[in-house]
Symmetry: D2
Subunit: 352 residues, 4 copies
């Protein structure tokens, strides 16, 4: 009953096989092998346009390099208060940009409120050096609290950004989970809705370590090769990342893995809803679920083998916690089995 994080998972067999397949041979290092090129082409097809793709090893580096590519002195990045770049990256964006500031916006259910964004960006008067200057909007899709921006919600935010000349970055560490839930195609919820840069994650969804930084306008990535190398994120044997993506995108593996994770989460949420020992903290839509349950109940579940994390209450989410109730995060992943979920739910019905 592993619900700690999708980062605690292993790797899909197809991914491992792809790595093994590369092991025997030789190929050009540093991102210029035939395989690298082929997988880059695959991204063009996936997004129905020519994009610039850069393979890196971590989501944090992907996000930080994305924003470094559009950096400005005294720059301000608008993002949700609960976004990964704010909460979980130890100042990586600030570091890669030499000190850009993350403007933390509120909004219900982990999603930026367009009014909040508009207000915040309006406070920056043009050419007023003291305040610094707006430089980008960064969205998280799916959000850190398991919710998803609809196509319309993305468009509402990017429109405000573009009005001010700001490029839009999307942190897609769980992009696949959002995509399968929305039932859209990748182009329609990214560049066609005004997204300029996408951190396209693979690691949380079955890869060993594979993140792709995708620029929908290749010109915006002109300095990225140097930014990536300077940051130590150009792998010599990049083809082992390319190979993971080749397998990941082949035969809709990525969509199948994400769909499975999501389905397991829905099964879990249904179970929780039917229980009187726990309740959902808020409605979520991806492989992340958040529940309130008694502290003793949590201890009981853990003793029985369930692994999950107590979670700090996110900003902007009104939760009425009962006495002695705690908030926990439950994440399913591509490896989660129905049996694991069912055992967990069953335990929720058990007498302590």
């Amino acid at each position: 009953m592993q619900f700690a994080s999708d980062n605690w998972s292993g790797a899909a067999p197809e991914i491992v096989e792809a790595i093994a397949h590369q092991a025997a041979g030789h190929a050009d290092a540093y991102g210029v092998s035939a395989l690298d090129r082929a997988v880059e082409d695959r991204f063009n097809a996936l997004f129905e346009r020519e994009v610039a793709v850069f393979f890196v090893g971590t989501g944090t580096s992907s996000n930080a390099l994305a924003l470094a590519a559009v950096n400005k002195p005294g720059g301000a990045v608008f993002c949700h208060r609960e976004s990964h770049i704010v909460v979980d990256e130890c100042g990586a964006v600030e570091f890669q940009t030499g000190g850009a500031r993350l403007m933390q916006l509120d909004g219900p259910l982990g999603k930026i409120d367009p009014g909040e964004f508009k207000d915040a960006v309006s406070r920056f008067a043009p050419n007023f050096v003291h305040a610094g200057q707006p430089m980008a909007l960064s969205l998280t899709q799916a959000s850190e609290v398991g919710t998803i921006y609809t196509r319309q919600e993305v468009e509402a935010l990017t429109a405000i950004a573009h009005e001010r000349g700001l490029p839009v970055h999307m942190d897609g560490a769980r992009f696949a989970n959002a995509l399968v839930n929305l039932g859209e195609n990748p182009a329609d919820i990214t560049w066609r809705q005004g997204v300029d840069i996408l951190s396209f994650g693979g690691t949380k969804n079955g890869c060993v370590s594979a993140e792709a930084l995708v620029f929908f306008d290749p010109k915006m990535a002109a300095e990225l090769p140097y930014l990536r190398k300077r940051a130590g994120h150009l792998f010599s044997k990049t083809r082992f990342i390319a190979a993971q993506f080749q397998a990941y995108l082949a035969d809709d593996l990525w969509l199948r893995l994400a769909a499975h994770s999501n389905a397991m989460a829905e099964r879990l949420r249904a179970g929780i809803e039917s229980s009187d020992k726990a309740r959902l903290a808020w409605p979520s839509e991806t492989n992340e679920s958040f529940a309130l349950l008694g502290r003793e109940q949590a201890a009981f579940l853990r003793k029985a083998g369930a692994v999950f994390l107590e979670w700090p209450r996110p900003h902007g989410l009104k939760i009425e916690e009962g006495d002695d109730e705690i908030l926990v995060r439950l994440i399913t992943n591509f490896q989660t089995s129905e049996d694991e979920v069912d055992r967990f739910v069953e335990l929720l019905g058990a007498r302590l």
Copy 2:
């Protein structure tokens, strides 16, 4: 006939198997799994003392984080003019340190001359803010031109460094190749000779992507967890790096792989020496060989399937190139076969 670079190689079967073995299960993310801990212990045993180990994905990040850990404002790092941090890392050290300067020293055969180092460090008067301040010595073992510092040579340099209070970093991207050639044990050519930090490379010697940053004095690494995370170099599924090192260090795999690479290089060098169509540019001792040969000869070899790179003439190496002669670098790796070497040597004897 793949002699382009050890970075063009694939991965050893044991390494791939170790990755596959981790794929099925779950484990704590971000470097705290049982496997991570076990492999960290393995490093303690390897170096016969308690060390602090940090797994990262690239040699460049390893070097840059090592020096960031001992950073000072206006800091100066003393290193060889031909070192990887100078020539091949796009300013990664300078970036991670917020602007430290690499003081490029000369020395024969790619190794820092102690007198040069002493002179250079002496030019920094204590408390003279204008010049900045010495902050570290960085050695490369084996060097970028295929040579190796003896134990005594290491000691001579670290003694000067420590006299000035400077920590010593060793870039060991090819540490294994040096080690097997010297026939020493790891502790004796590192901390027992005054080395404080080691970039212990695995990628060039059979891993997919595995580099370990080793601090012989764990206190020196106090800020490293934050430096690594901030730089985007903390992998979520670190155990896949740990697993590579577990296999790498088990049953002397790493030594066997390096010994094979070195042996293939020696076979290659012997072949070149016996040929009248090429000659060694300087004596090298590891899996890197440098040869002078005619431009037409090079073209002929390439047409026959040999892959190698023309190489810029390193500083501090007196080479008398003949008319129309070029310098080439030939690198063997753990996958190189005797047959590959022999075919290459045979071609050198062939009539064009």
Copy 3:
């Protein structure tokens, strides 16, 4: 009727004379002249202990270097949402620290609420690299909205900081204005209350350009000489700054200038309170006053020669603005005359 900012003022005659006095001679450059040393000693006397003093030219550099001196990777600085380092320095702290984050705290009347601070710092679990690490508390004395921390209020905040091992910085761009209002001595409202570093401002209070960065524990400033030089803030002819401070501190000039500014502000506030055309937005105590008045009234005053700025409504201050009412900031300075104030107040009583 100049109420735009104390930064718009000129310089006190004593300051100019001190500059002129230095013009004829020669002296050691870069902060080591006899005068520099003498003025440094003067600071020891002023603060009743040995301090380390560094002269710089701008308040922004003083604040940024103060925090750079206690920098940590992934560092978080706790400060008020309305502090100068947040609102008015174009990311200078973030830049000098290579990306530290400003944690913006709320609190009534421009002063940090201790509970808010305690909560915010508690959210950083020890050794949890993802979130980064607390590195300093920064207070503004007097605050940006014209209020002053009492000795007890300072102590309450520094106690929390020190419990977590955090050094405390005080931005004292208007330190003199606070001091004369509190009627305390400099030591009693700084290091005796737990302040570790003080940006001691002179520019806003009669100097041409003179800021002193004071470390109450000189050991904390060990790297400051290099940080200052590297940042381009070591003046060659530092003695012209030292001379300004010599005159500034002689015969209580600084206290007299600040007392005058404050008195003029009180006179102004009394006038506003007695008017029915304007009202104070909140109670302030220094040379900064904030008033609400009708837009037409403001235009009328400006036409009559008054210079002042419309001001964005600060966070954490509940102001009930009437229809068509605007918030304005009125700053007096050492040059403000009673006549200027009286004319302004008189105009407030005039029929439009």
Copy 4:
């Protein structure tokens, strides 16, 4: 007999008067006062074109911000090994650029050799990320060893730079000294010869603290307002710097001061040449002279009241030092009197 440095001098009376003149009034802060604008216009006239001018307080900040304005990740700045940015700025350029590298070139008499530059820049293959990328050429006029680039020499270097698309920065801390010696006009030895950015110094030549960063193509300075503010180099009372420049440029004050310094240096050099107790180390042309003399002779001069610094032997200058001979630097400045020079020369003729 003050020959330590032009930085040890005071300030010209006209400069002090200009400061005093500003002291009484009020004006817009942060560089937008009428005076700031007027002096900016003066620079347009001086350089016979529209330029973008930024006032700062130190030469180091001027140089570092100039190069930050044209920064690139992994950037390499080509400059002379003896340039101020290399030798005397504690890594300020590296810091402001987030880690650009200074490529130290040789060349006789402190001036970059065009062949050396061409070679060095050629080593950077286009799009070869490992090495980083060329980003600027930086010249020093007059050089740190008292020599001057002729118009032709400037042009030869800028032509190579522009061929590679590199902007050219000129460190003009002693620009006035070079200018009066060359007998050219400012435009003819800067942008008409391909210089893009000029650090125009005033401090060493009679100002208290006044440096102007001049961009001949204002578009190149688009981010400079933010870079300057972020670095803490935007003074609130900028008009006190503007006022210094107003006086400095009025009635050719700057040229007269520089001409005087130069003339005193020539008088000094003539005296040294006629002495048999000292000799010029190399021919210099500005207010900097370098002499070789016996250690005892130096002690004798110092005892008699002469102030000067022993100087490390610059690279690229062949000097045959006699036994017990030392190299000293002798700098005259706008305050140096004929009498001072003559006394010094007389002492050189005296019996010890």
